[in-house]
């Protein structure tokens, strides 16, 4: 039942994207004003 796989798969892929960018947001200093004292 591949259609069902698609529903799960696209949600998984979306969460991959969200987690990846949130992780980046958390780990790195992306904008000067938002990371007081932290280093990249």
């Amino acid at each position: 039942m591949w259609y069902f796989t698609w529903i799960l798969g696209v949600l998984l892929a979306l969460s991959f994207g969200i987690i990846n960018v949130m992780w980046l947001e958390n780990e790195t200093c992306l904008d000067d004003e938002t990371c007081e004292g932290r280093k990249d």
């Binding site: 591949w2 892929a13 991959f16 994207g17 969200i18 960018v21 992780w23 992306l30």
Partner: protein
């Protein structure tokens, strides 16, 4: 007989459209989900940079979306214009997914894509995220339904040939929808689109990083694209394997041609990496082969053989001979002088009838085919090995998604009256092309007119929009004017529609008059809407337009009515098919008689309301508009549309497309329909989706409704798409 060059040109035209279409579509499939990711993060973190990202990538999505819509519309037209007999023959199965695509997906995406661009100020963050999500869902559901249609072409399950209607008819909607090929193709194609979208975003972000521009923006975009892209690539790999396996199961000839595998070789089957396939000699020169690989692709095994082209051709020759038997039996059945043995013979061989029909190209009778002709037809069952072989070695992952996603304004007609779709699009070829080219200008025009801050640019696009919006109602009016007079077409013995008229024949005085009715009716409606939605200056000009268009409409509508009553011969059924008979449009007796189009008004006097509503609505629209009651004027002008369209319908009922060359072949509402099952499926789809569509379009209007002011337009000049 069809000119082979003509067929070849039609193929080229369709192929070029498909290729062009598929440049834009995969990008939009992936970009929409990337927008959903970015906006989800925006809702969660509230950081402005994510909103900027959604807007930036959203703009690029919009450009691709408009071009995807435009090229998709073209393909839909081409089903009717280029492949009329195809539409007729399989419309019963093929039309339903297209129509459901329209109901389920196209309404969704086209409603929400507008809110996506213009709704930032009017919707809460969460509401806007829902809108973005629904746009993405709509885009992907489009891909779903078109690939269900495409999957059926590759592996025709859930359908059976009906000898009386001379076409394929659906026997199980579930089988068509859950077709294994359709499932695999759908996920493989959309995943490939996700990868394309991710690569697009990653590529542009990488360029920004290299240039050292907007680093925060570029790194975040990159992170989104890589996360989403990685998951999608895994999906492409898994489904690619599944796709190859399905092709090995159900499309052996296609697979053998792609691999240029002329002879069945003993297992393990080797994969030809490169080589020069030679169709004449039936061998591949200078082939470099990788052992085991083809077996793994097609059979997931190294001990099974993959049949080669030559063996498959031999099998096909036998199927062509069976097809000849089936064709002969079928002709007897259709002529009504078949014995029990003939019917049995047909049942046994009918799955090979299509192979027999390949001979139509060489001999019209089919049953008298010579050995040489059978060889020729068997040769036709082998696709172009060279082009297939090479295209698969250059375009890689997009190999199967050749017909993703197109729109279905005519989808419902296709599903409900495939015969009408086939006959009208091919018959009114140049008129339809004119409409199509005009329609090109609309999505592209709306999307592009504000992209450059240059009055000349904007002005040209506005002219384009004017043409794009005026030509279709004019041409549809002209087409209707011709329907009243009957169109010159007839069917041959295998129910192929043949059209014998010309484009300039369409431009007769009566048809042009109906064109004026149609155009003035649309202008009236547009002007009334503008008066309602705008302020003073524009509103006053709109009021003038309502009056003028209304007067033109009243005069033209009255003249057309008088002309139709006195000067045009109508059609009348004198002997109909028995009640409940299968839908075959050639089984009745029809005569042309003067003033026959007034028949329904005499028989059902209540129907005279239709033209009265048309006239009355126009008078009221003018009066309300002049009194400054814009809302009522718009309502009255809506009545005009209703009255006019009903007038046309009532006059012609039950005819949909009468034939002037052979009135007996006229298409009516009853005998040009799809099978019972397809109509049922469409009914259920409509019952489910129409209320959903109405509720979300209402929400859309409610959220976006306001009087447009000059100040607002100046503020939003760049926001508007």
């Amino acid at each position: 007989m069809l000119d082979p060059d003509f067929v070849e040109l039609s193929r080229w035209q369709f192929a070029i459209t498909v290729l062009y279409h598929f440049i834009f579509v995969p990008l939009t499939l992936g970009l929409t989900w990337i927008l959903v990711i970015m906006e989800s993060v925006y809702v969660m973190t509230g950081k402005q940079v994510y909103k900027d990202m959604v807007k930036f990538w959203g703009k690029l999505f919009g450009i691709n979306f408009a071009l995807g819509v435009t090229t998709g519309l073209t393909m839909e037209f081409q089903f009717g214009t280029n492949w009329a007999y195809y539409s007729h023959y399989v419309g019963d199965v093929f039309g339903a997914p297209l129509a459901i695509e329209g109901l389920m997906a196209f309404f969704l995406e086209s409603t929400f894509v507008g809110m996506f661009f213009l709704g930032w100020e009017r919707l809460s963050k969460r509401q806007h995220l829902v809108v973005t999500f629904l746009t993405a869902l709509g885009t992907n559901l489009s891909a779903l339904w078109i690939l269900v249609a495409n999957g059926w072409m590759q592996n025709p399950v859930g359908a059976e040939f009906n000898v009386e209607t001379m076409r394929m008819e659906m026997t199980s909607f579930a089988q068509v929808f859950f077709n294994p090929v359709a499932q695999v193709k759908f996920i493989h194609t959309v995943s490939a689109g996700y990868v394309a979208g991710s690569m697009f975003v990653a590529g542009i972000s990488a360029y920004y990083l290299l240039k050292g521009r907007d680093l925060g923006f570029a790194r975040r975009s990159m992170a989104v694209a890589l996360g989403f892209g990685l998951a999608s690539i895994c999906s492409v790999i898994v489904l690619g394997d599944e796709s190859g396996y399905e092709a090995g199961e159900v499309q052996k000839m296609k697979l053998a041609s792609i691999e240029a595998e002329w002879d069945t070789e003993p297992p393990p089957a080797a994969f030809t990496l490169v080589g020069a396939p030679d169709r004449e000699a039936m061998e591949t020169h200078g082939a470099i082969k990788i052992p085991y690989v083809l077996g793994l692709i097609a059979k997931r095994a190294i001990d099974e053989e993959v049949p080669g082209i030559k063996d498959l051709m031999e099998q096909n020759k036998q199927r062509i001979r069976n097809g000849i038997l089936a064709y002969g039996a079928m002709q007897k059945i259709r002529a009504g002088n078949a014995s029990e043995a003939d019917r049995k013979l047909f049942e046994v061989y009918k799955k090979d009838l299509g192979y027999g029909l390949l001979l139509k190209r060489y001999t019209d009778k089919v049953v008298d085919a010579t050995e040489a002709q059978i060889d020729q037809a068997a040769n036709d069952t082998v696709p172009g090995v060279g082009p297939l072989f090479w295209s698969f070695r250059t375009v890689g992952p997009h190999w199967d998604g050749n017909q993703v996603w197109f729109i279905t304004a005519g989808g419902a007609v296709f599903a409900a009256w495939p015969a009408v779709y086939a006959a009208s699009f091919s018959g009114f070829y140049f008129a339809m092309m004119l409409v199509l080219f005009a329609l090109f200008l609309r999505p592209v025009g709306f999307d592009y007119r504000s992209k450059l801050d240059n009055p000349q640019w904007r002005n040209s696009w506005d002219w384009g929009l004017l043409v794009g919006s005026a030509v279709p109602p004019l041409v549809f009016g002209i087409a209707f004017g011709n329907l009243f007079q009957g169109a010159p077409f007839h069917y041959d013995d295998i129910m192929r529609p043949w059209y014998t008229g010309s484009f300039f024949g369409l431009l007769n005085p009566f048809a042009l008059l109906v064109g004026v009715v149609s155009l003035s009716m649309i202008v009236l409606h547009g002007a009334a809407f503008l008066q309602l939605r705008t302020e003073k200056l524009i509103s006053d000009r709109a009021q003038g337009a309502v009056t003028k268009a209304g007067l033109v409409y009243i005069v033209a509508f009255a003249l057309a009515g008088i002309w139709l009553a006195l000067g045009i011969d109508g059609f009348e059924i004198v002997r109909d098919r028995p009640h409940g008979a299968l839908p075959v449009p050639v089984g009745k007796e029809v005569v042309m008689a003067s003033s026959a189009w007034l028949h329904n008004y005499r028989q059902y006097p209540i129907t005279i309301l239709a033209p009265l509503v048309g006239f009355g609505g126009a008078v009221l629209a003018i009066l309300f508009s002049r009194a400054g009651r814009a809302g009522w004027a718009f309502f009255s002008s809506a009545l005009v549309q209703l009255g006019t369209i009903f007038t046309a319908g009532v006059s012609m009922f039950p005819f949909v497309m009468p034939s002037s060359t052979n009135p007996n072949h006229s298409l009516t509402m009853w005998d040009a329909t799809s099978s019972h099952l397809t109509l049922n499926v469409m009914f259920i789809a409509a019952v489910i989706f129409v209320p959903i569509i109405i509720s979300y379009t209402t929400w859309n209007f409610w959220k976006m409704w306001r009087v447009v002011t000059v100040k607002e337009i100046e503020e939003q000049s760049h926001l508007a798409y």
